[in-house]
Symmetry: C2
Subunit: 513 residues, 2 copies
């Protein structure tokens, strides 16, 4: 077993009540130890023991991966406890006390919730059709009813209520994907994310401890030119239709435009992303907000530019008062962002605090995106300078609490610092999985597969033998028809990409009773 | 229907007895006319008519592709006639009369046979694992019993008898694929092709009119540096163990080495490709050569460097007398090459002619590979110069007959001339499909899908809307295990990668009784 990298031998260090159960994760090369060696004789033997047609079902027993049967049982126990924990503590996990005392040492429930909402943001990438040679480039690859199942997330406990689209007539370089072809599903829209709501099942209700509306926004994966191209220009949110009487509350104009622009000639973006979101949240809060049995929460999540949209839209929901039920209950609004840039000015931040919107920002400290815009003038500037610059249109401020991770602490990742890998969402989720607090050793706390890091990056160290950028469709989505022709199959689009009563809901938003 | 490119309206021109039945092929954009328009309203309607989960089964009827029911019936009739034709004329199709009168106008049976054997060569690319991040890089992705089925060729009528491997310790730049990982199926071998034999079914026997041993050699797809790096050095074949007493019979030393080298430390290449091939051909000829009911043929096929190996190995089989049965019957040996370079000198060519090996070379006239090696001194040089240079080690000569095609005649392909696209095998098969003779209009003669051209190229004109380089595995072959981990599944290797009696057969080859 000399070939197993030494960090696999790191035993979990008892840091808090859950790390004693932490699993040590053996890398993929371990698998190879059992199945293919360079010695031809052994290779032959090993290679003939399995059948290519049934490969996915045949694997080394879990024991070989450091997960013994006993451990597995204990893990299930622990998960049950954590789940109970979430039920009892979800208001704290959602930031009621601004996550005081939950991040150092890292609370295991908060960690798993940050991973869970991060995976909801990741779903926006995994489901997005980036291929410029696809007729459906810029859309979601799956129908909303099958989104989680299609991504292999069978136990999400959520149903997607609405897809969100934005017009791509916005000057954000490399953000939108456009098909090379002329005849496409939409010339002017891009899929931007979704609104989901936790389901009625007893298991979900017990696990979450409440009903949850989750909103996920798609961001950017690798091409980060939009960061450099941000206009670095704050403008009053009231100018874009926000219900805010204070013209000193300002946000980055590019984000505002992306959120509020529409294209009346396009079926998918004839309503702005903002209108699509607010009407859906209004409907769901009206439906579930005064439920006798379950409280309600609103959680907005997003990575990168999607994180900026998460902040902006959560602010909007609260400013519109949509988180107040008919009977006057206040639904907590929480934002989890991952590698997100700054969105607004100091007054914007203060206004979000007044409204009680809680924001937790997860960042890799080597990522430059969270340092943008406002690299030179931001919340860290001296007080006197901020006072002076407060009225200037380029003094940005982050909102909420920060959880800073460092990819150089993970023995799985290449230590080099590269703009796009340091910004990678899957890598952040992996870092969360191994994080136990400041200065604590990196130990994976779940069976979450480090191979996911290489889904759209080359970030894993080579000796784990995981192909880089491995997420791809078979034959770029081409399938062979029975007559032998290869075709790009038609893809269903939700017929109800806008609610039938959206006009009614919109008019209620504009003229609240 | 204004959007259908004008060449779809080309009606087949009656060139010979079969072109009257030629099918006009509508491009993929036609399909799109029925399914997705840029008008949002129509797009919505069209997009909701199918289900993503069952997409491959839903298509426009064949009628929309210019294949009416009546035509379809006539096509089947014609195919039946052609099949009868092959049964009666296979010796001519295999080159008994050096294809005199069969190429201009193009004989439909010869055309479909050239496509069929070309597809056997193409199978070597489609099945090869090129991915340097795969543990099985350099091997065949499928077991030999499932090769054709795995590639969707369900009615091949052939069974693969043997896979062929070569050692990669040969200086041929970019020809061999090596894994980036250290623990792999074999460090020193690459899969090179296969030996197949037509099956016992009545349908196959009636179709082919004989038993056929087909040998296919893998070549190179895009990276053509090996052409420039060929040592341009002819050496006597006798030096590499060929049974040839005339030292004036010479072949390119790189091809000779690839065919005859071995690596005793590697289970897959401890016998040379030559030894693997000759023993298998010997076994099959002994088994089928004196069959009372069916005659036997040997057909060797290959593209590019695989074409060079096809010529060399066919020569070797004949020179070894393996095409003579115990009772003294001579089994015809035929070579079909596609975009193949020159292999040997003029004496080599003459020796192949003496042995009666028939070679038909299909080339795209814009491809430089068939002009190599020997760009300056070859069979086209003035007679006196050839006389003078005959003894020099760099005077090369092609063998056999040439069928020259021109991709600029196909309205489906981009007319630009690019080294690797002009050399593409799928493009050659497409050109064959539309070829009816010199100066004749390009009309596809079968339902063979032009989309195949873009499998590993960007050669199709953009308005056909077929993604370039679309052949790829889902998630680079990674699959998700039930425990959530993503793994590269084990791949079965044939246990019998060498015949158990190969030593016995080899000794018979060396000491024929």
């Amino acid at each position: 077993m000399a070939t197993i990298p030494s960090h696999n031998l790191l035993l979990p260090k008892p840091i808090n009540h859950q790390s004693a159960h932490s699993l040590s994760f053996k890398p993929h090369s371990t698998l190879l130890n059992f199945t293919a060696r360079s010695s031809p004789a052994i290779a032959t033997k090993a290679m003939s023991t399995t059948d290519a047609a049934s490969t996915s079902s045949r694997l080394e027993p879990l024991e070989s991966f450091g997960i013994t049967a006993a451990e597995d049982v204990r893990r299930r126990d622990r998960e049950a406890k954590e789940s109970k924990s979430l039920r009892d503590t979800w208001r704290k996990i959602q930031g009621e006390d601004d996550w005081a005392g939950l991040m150092d040492p890292m609370d295991p429930v908060l960690r798993s919730e940050l991973i869970r909402y991060g995976e909801m943001a990741q779903a926006c990438y995994d489901a997005f059709d980036f291929d410029p040679f696809s007729r459906y480039c810029g859309s979601c690859r799956f129908t909303r009813h099958k989104l989680f199942d299609s991504l292999g997330i069978f136990d999400s406990g959520y149903e997607v209520a609405r897809y969100l689209y934005a017009t791509s007539n916005i000057n954000l370089p490399n953000f939108f994907s456009k098909s090379r072809w002329s005849k496409v599903w939409s010339k002017n829209a891009n899929w931007m994310g979704y609104v989901a709501v936790s389901d009625d099942s007893e298991a979900t209700r017990r696990r979450l401890g409440r009903r949850d509306i989750a909103i996920a926004w798609r961001g950017t994966v690798t091409q980060l030119e939009w960061i450099a191209d941000l206009k670095d220009f704050l403008k009053p949110v009231s100018g874009n239709g926000f219900r805010c009487r204070d013209p000193a509350v300002k946000a980055e104009s590019g984000f505002l435009d992306l959120y509020t622009d529409k294209d009346t000639s396009c079926n998918f973006s004839k309503f702005s992303a903002r209108e699509q979101l607010l009407t859906e949240v209004k409907r769901l809060v009206e439906r579930y907000g005064d439920d006798e049995e379950d409280d309600l929460s609103i959680t907005v999540t997003g990575h990168s530019l999607g994180g900026a949209l998460a902040v902006l839209s959560a602010y909007d929901v609260a400013e519109m008062g949509l988180n107040r039920t008919k009977r006057g209950k206040v639904v907590p609004v929480t934002v989890f962002t991952y590698g997100a840039p700054r969105v607004g000015n100091i007054r914007f931040k203060e206004r979000m605090e007044e409204l009680g919107v809680k924001v937790l920002r997860v960042v890799n400290k080597h990522d430059v995106v969270p340092k943008s815009p406002g690299l030179f003038l931001n919340e860290h500037a001296p007080h006197a300078l901020k006072q002076l610059a407060g009225g200037l249109p380029w003094c940005y401020s982050h909102v909420g609490e920060k959880l800073a991770l460092d990819h150089q602490n993970s023995p799985f990742l290449k230590p080099s610092i590269d703009l796009s890998t340091a910004h990678n969402l899957e890598a952040l989720l992996h870092l969360l999985d191994g994080y136990h607090g400041k200065g604590q050793r990196f130990v994976l706390s779940s069976g979450r597969d480090p191979a996911l890091v290489n889904k759209a990056s080359d970030f894993l160290k080579d000796h784990f033998m995981v192909p880089p950028y491995w997420r791809q469709d078979a034959n770029k989505g081409m399938v062979r028809h029975t007559d032998g022709r290869w075709i790009q199959p038609d893809r269903i689009r939700a017929e109800d990409h806008h609610a039938p009563d959206i006009h009614h809901l919109l008019s209620q938003l504009h003229h609240p009773s």
